[in-house]
């Protein structure tokens, strides 16, 4: 049983890793080698692609821009979603189900047409080309997701825990922070990761709401395509570097994600 499990995992990870490897492989090659034929490792490894990404200001500032709006978004999403998810998981109130479903519908609108109104809206309030604009815009799809995931996790915590805590004399905020949040750690970890992830890779909104000062990395990447060819190597290097913050995030939340919870004493 254990062996079979490990085998499944191994095969799947291999499937996941081969394309990633080819990306890393590409990032250490010159364009000439990339297009010259199939090589399983760089025959003439070069760091030129990374040099471009790390030394050109437009590249590294775009990383910082992305990081700044993504972390803002993560923070905002979690802060507003936690109480809301608690409300949905524990109470009934006027229009609760419809409200919940309406939140979900915000992920359903195909974004292309909404870009111009978005641009207009954020320009009108003077936020165009700032990280906060992108952070707020990404809340549109991240907050519903956060509410949704957290609600799921909160619902799987037995209500009896709340009741016991109240009987033991906890106030709501104290209970929520001291007892409840630690119990849904896997949920918070996974939510934080998803908020990060969806915001990090989102292209259309981020590109539309910025021009120069807050340009995100995903938009910066598109400039590797030009009238005189695609700069595969730099694109690959930028892609590899784009993986790193996500790896850091998953590394930090890994304990939360992996933390099972025991229904211990309150």
């Amino acid at each position: 049983m254990r062996l079979r499990k490990s085998l499944v995992m191994l095969v799947y990870l291999l499937f996941v890793l081969v394309p990633i490897y080819s990306l890393v492989n590409m990032s250490f090659k010159s364009n000439r080698e990339i297009l010259g034929g199939l090589t399983l490792w760089p025959t003439a490894p070069t760091l030129d692609n990374y040099r471009v990404v790390f030394t050109e200001p437009t590249w590294y500032t775009s990383y910082l821009n992305s990081l700044s709006y993504v972390s803002m978004n993560m923070l905002i999403s979690l802060l507003v979603a936690l109480p809301a998810a608690y409300a949905f998981s524990r109470y009934r109130f006027l229009g609760d189900k419809h409200m919940f479903f309406w939140l979900l519908t915000n992920r359903m609108a195909p974004p292309a047409v909404f870009l111009l109104p978005f641009f207009q809206l954020y320009s009108a309030v003077g936020l165009f080309d700032t990280p906060i604009a992108v952070a707020l815009a990404h809340c549109l799809f991240n907050v519903p997701l956060a509410v949704w995931i957290l609600e799921g996790f909160m619902s799987s915590v037995p209500k009896e825990i709340d009741e016991t805590a109240y009987i033991d004399g906890y106030t709501f905020p104290k209970f929520f922070i001291r007892i409840f949040l630690p119990m849904i750690r896997p949920g918070i970890g996974v939510t934080a990761f998803f908020c990060f992830m969806f915001s990090w890779v989102e292209l259309l909104l981020a590109r539309t709401l910025t021009s120069v000062d807050a340009k995100p990395i995903v938009a910066q990447m598109t400039r590797t395509v030009s009238a005189s060819g695609i700069d595969w190597g730099v694109l690959a290097a930028a892609g590899v570097v784009a993986l790193l913050p996500g790896i850091a995030v998953i590394y930090f939340v890994r304990n939360h994600v992996a933390k099972g919870f025991a229904l211990g004493r309150v």
Binding site: L94, K97, H98, F101, Q120
Partner: protein, 90 residues
């Protein structure tokens, strides 16, 4: 707000939806309804029936636009009737 490209019909449409929501809230507050089972294959509250009615109306309009040459108000009339039926007996 010029950029929102308002037209009279859409303004009326949204005003209608807003009014409907306000009315439903007031109604629910004044005389709370309860969930019940009508001809629809699931237990519904008033709000659910409103949602189902609106969704059905949207599809109704699209259907009329897709399959017929009827003017739109015919579709609207049919959908309004359907809406009333769903609200009352759904």
């Amino acid at each position: 707000m010029g950029w929102m490209a308002w037209t009279l019909p859409t303004a009326l449409f949204f005003a209608g939806i807003a009014l409907l929501l306000v009315a439903m809230t007031v109604w629910q507050t004044v005389s709370p309804g309860r969930e019940r089972k009508g001809f629809l294959p699931l237990t519904t509250s008033r709000g659910d029936r409103l949602f189902i009615g609106l969704l059905a109306s949207a599809y109704g309009h699209l259907l009329v636009l897709a399959l017929t040459d009827w003017p739109l108000w015919v579709a609207t009339a049919i959908c309004a009737t359907g809406m009333a039926i769903i609200m009352k007996w759904g």
